[in-house]
C-alpha cells in the first residue's frame, strides 16, 4: 500500500515517469525486505532492454527525421492532391490522405503532427480554411500514425506482451484505414455544414509531373508495409531498409538532405528513442511490484465480480483508459497498464492479445488529443499558434469518430485480425 502512495505522489509531483517506476521499485524492495533483489536491480534495468524488436524504434525515428529533412513530406502532399484535391474541402482531404501515407513512414503521432502542421496549416489557411480547422484536421491525421504501421506503440506493446511485432503491424492496417475513412466522412459532413472552399484538380500534365517527382517518396511506405505484410522482412529489417531508402531519396534524388545535417539528426534520434525506450527499462524493475504483489490477480477478482462478459470488460477498460490517457502520456500509460491488464484479458476473458493490443493502443493515443495533457494538442497549438481551447473545439468531432471506431473494433474484433 505504502509503495502505491509513494508511486502516485511521485507521479503527480512531476518526476519523470521512468524514474517514478524505477524509484517505486527501489522503495518496494526496501519495504518488503526482499533485499536480495537489490543485487540484481542494476542488471534488471539493463536486461529489460535486451530485445531485438526494440531496435525498430530508433531506426523508424531516424527514417522519419531523414524524410523530413529530405523534402519528402511536401511531395507526398502533392501526390495526395492528385487523388482528392479537387473536391469540396479538397485540401482537408489532401491533409488526411497525406497523413495516411506519412503514417506508413513515421511511427509516432507527436512527430507526425509537428511535421505535417508545418506544411498543411499555412497552406489550408491560405486557401480559406479557418486556422483552427486546419490545425484540428492535421492533429486528427496524426492519430493515424500510431495505428498504421510502422507504429512505435505497437512495437512497445509487442515487446511487453511478447507478441510478434510484425503481427501487431499487420493487425493495425485495417483499423487504421477505417479510422482514415471515418475522418474523411467527418470532413465531408463538416464541409457540407460549413461550406468549405472547393479545391482545384491539377492538370494532366501537372499530375504526371507530381507523380514522377513523388514516386520515390511514395516507394518508401510501400517498401515498409509491403515488406512486413508479405513477410519479406522483420519490422527491424524493414526499418533498416527504410532508413537507407529515406537517405538515398533525400540526398541523391531530391538533393535536399545535406551531410552536415546528419549529426544533428542522429543526435535527435538517439535522444528521442532513449526517452521512450528507457521507460521500458524502468518498467522491468517496476514489474517486480506487479508480480510479487499479485496486482493482476487482485484486479481480476474485482473485475470478474463485475462482469464475466468479455464485451462489457473491454468497454469498461475503454472507458477507464480514456480517463488514464487524458492524464498520463500514452506510451508511459501503456507500459504501466499492459502488464496488469493483459493477463486478465487473455486468461479470464479469452481475448486475443493482438485485438487487446490494437484496442488499448488506439485508446491511449486518443489521449494525445484530449486535454489536459494531450501532447498532440500542445504541439499543434504551438505550431499553428492557436489556443488549445480553440483547437479542441475544432477537434472534438474527430475524437467522436475515433471513439465510434473504437466501439466498432470492440464489437467486431475480426476487423483487427482479418489480415493475419
Amino acid at each position: 500500500m505504502t509503495v502505491w502512495i509513494i508511486f502516485f505522489a511521485l507521479l503527480f509531483a512531476g518526476l519523470p515517469i521512468a524514474l517514478v517506476l524505477a524509484v517505486s521499485a527501489l522503495v518496494y524492495i526496501w519495504l518488503s525486505g526482499n533485499v536480495v533483489l537489490f543485487l540484481s536491480y542494476p542488471q534488471q534495468l539493463f536486461s529489460g532492454l535486451e530485445n531485438y524488436g526494440l531496435l525498430a524504434i530508433p531506426l523508424f525515428m531516424l527514417t522519419g527525421e531523414l524524410m523530413n529533412k529530405g523534402g519528402v513530406t511536401r511531395r507526398l502532399v502533392s501526390m495526395a492532391s492528385i487523388f482528392v484535391g479537387g473536391f469540396k474541402g479538397g485540401l482537408a482531404y489532401v491533409n488526411l490522405v497525406a497523413n495516411t501515407m506519412m503514417a506508413a513512414i513515421i511511427g509516432s503521432a507527436a512527430a507526425q503532427i509537428s511535421v505535417m502542421s508545418k506544411v498543411m496549416v499555412p497552406e489550408m489557411e491560405e486557401r480559406g480554411y479557418s486556422r483552427e480547422f486546419a490545425a484540428a484536421t492535421t492533429a486528427a491525421g496524426g492519430l493515424l500514425s500510431p495505428i498504421i504501421p510502422p507504429s512505435m506503440v505497437f512495437v512497445i506493446y509487442g515487446v511487453i506482451a511478447q507478441i510478434a511485432i510484425g503481427d501487431m503491424f499487420i493487425a493495425g492496417i485495417v483499423p487504421g484505414l477505417i479510422l482514415a475513412v471515418g475522418f474523411i466522412v467527418m470532413i465531408t459532413i463538416l464541409g457540407l455544414w460549413n461550406n468549405y472552399p472547393r479545391g482545384k484538380w491539377p492538370s494532366l500534365r501537372e499530375s504526371i509531373r507530381i507523380t514522377v517527382a513523388g514516386s520515390p517518396a511514395f516507394l518508401i511506405p510501400l517498401v515498409i508495409i509491403g515488406g512486413i505484410l508479405l513477410g519479406l522482412a522483420s519490422p527491424t529489417e524493414s526499418a533498416a531498409l527504410a532508413t537507407v531508402s529515406a537517405f538515398v531519396v533525400g540526398k541523391y534524388i531530391y538533393k535536399e538532405l545535406q551531410f552536415r545535417d546528419i549529426p544533428e539528426i542522429l543526435q535527435r534520434t538517439a535522444l528521442n528513442s532513449a526517452l521512450v525506450i528507457f521507460l521500458i527499462a524502468a518498467a522491468n524493475v517496476f514489474g517486480w511490484i506487479i508480480i510479487y504483489e499479485k496486482v493482476p490477480q487482485s484486479i481480476a477478482v474485482w473485475l470478474t465480480e463485475l462482469t464475466s462478459d468479455p464485451l462489457v470488460f473491454l468497454l469498461t477498460i475503454n472507458l477507464m483508459l480514456i480517463g488514464v490517457g487524458m492524464i498520463i502520456d500514452a506510451i508511459a500509460a501503456m507500459i504501466i497498464i499492459v502488464p496488469i491488464l493483459l493477463p486478465i484479458a487473455t486468461l479470464h476473458y479469452g481475448i486475443d492479445p493482438i485485438v487487446f493490443g490494437v484496442i488499448i493502443c488506439l485508446n491511449l493515443v486518443l489521449g494525445l488529443l484530449t486535454p489536459p495533457v494531450g501532447a498532440g494538442l500542445f504541439i499543434i497549438s504551438a505550431m499553428a499558434e492557436v489556443s488549445i481551447g480553440a483547437v479542441f473545439k475544432a477537434i472534438y468531432p474527430f475524437i467522436l469518430v475515433t471513439i465510434v471506431v473504437l466501439v466498432l473494433l470492440t464489437l467486431q474484433p475480426w476487423l483487427i485480425t482479418v489480415l493475419l
Binding site: L10, L11, F12, A13, G14, L15, P16, I17, A18, L19, A22, V23, L26, F38, L39, Y41, P42, Q43, L45, F46, L49, E50, N51, Y52, L54, L55, P58, L59, L62, A233, T236, E237, A239, A240, L241, T243, V244, P263, L266, Q267, T269, A270, L271, S273, A274, L275, I277, F278, L279, A281, I327, I328, D329, I331, A332, P372, V373
Partner: protein
Amino acid sequence: MIVRLSNFLKSAEKKFIAFLALVITVLALLNVVTRALNNALFWVDELLIYTMIWMVLIGSSVMVREKSGIATTFFVEFLGNRLQKLLAHLVDAVILAFSVVLVILCWNWYDLPTLIKFGFDTQQFASSTFNFIYQEPTTTLGLSKFWIWLVVPMISVTLSVHSVANILESLQNTKVESQQ
C-alpha cells in the same frame, strides 16, 4: 565546478549517443545484407542490442540533465507558484537520491574489494559471494558480460553529477529571484 563538469559530460554523452545511433543503423543494414546473401554474421544481433542499450541508458542520463523526460505535469499546474518550486526541488532531490542509491547498488554488484581480495579469481569470488557477475558470458561476442554491464555504473555516476548540477542551478535561480 560541478555544473561545468556536468555540462561537459552532457555534451560528450550527446556526441557519443549520436555515434551509437550511427553504429546501430550501419549494423542493422549489415544484418539485412548478410542475411539476404545467406551469410548472416552471428554476432551482429547481440552487438546491435547492446549498442542500443548503451545509447538508451546514456541518453537517459542526458534526459535527466535536460529535464526532458516524460512526466505528468497535470496536477503540478494547479498548484501555486511557491508550491510548484518546492515540488521541483523535491523532484531534484529524489533524482539525486535515486542516482546515489544506484551508485551504491552498482558498487555492491561489481564488489571490487572482494574481487581484489581473491586476487581477481572470479571462480572463488562467485563461490564465496554467490554473485555471478563475473561468470556470465555474452552469447556470441566472446566477452564477459560485466564489460557490457559497465554502462549501468557509468550512468549511475553521470546521473549523480547531473542531478547535483540540477540542484545547484535551481538553488542559484531561486536565490537570484528572491534578490530581485
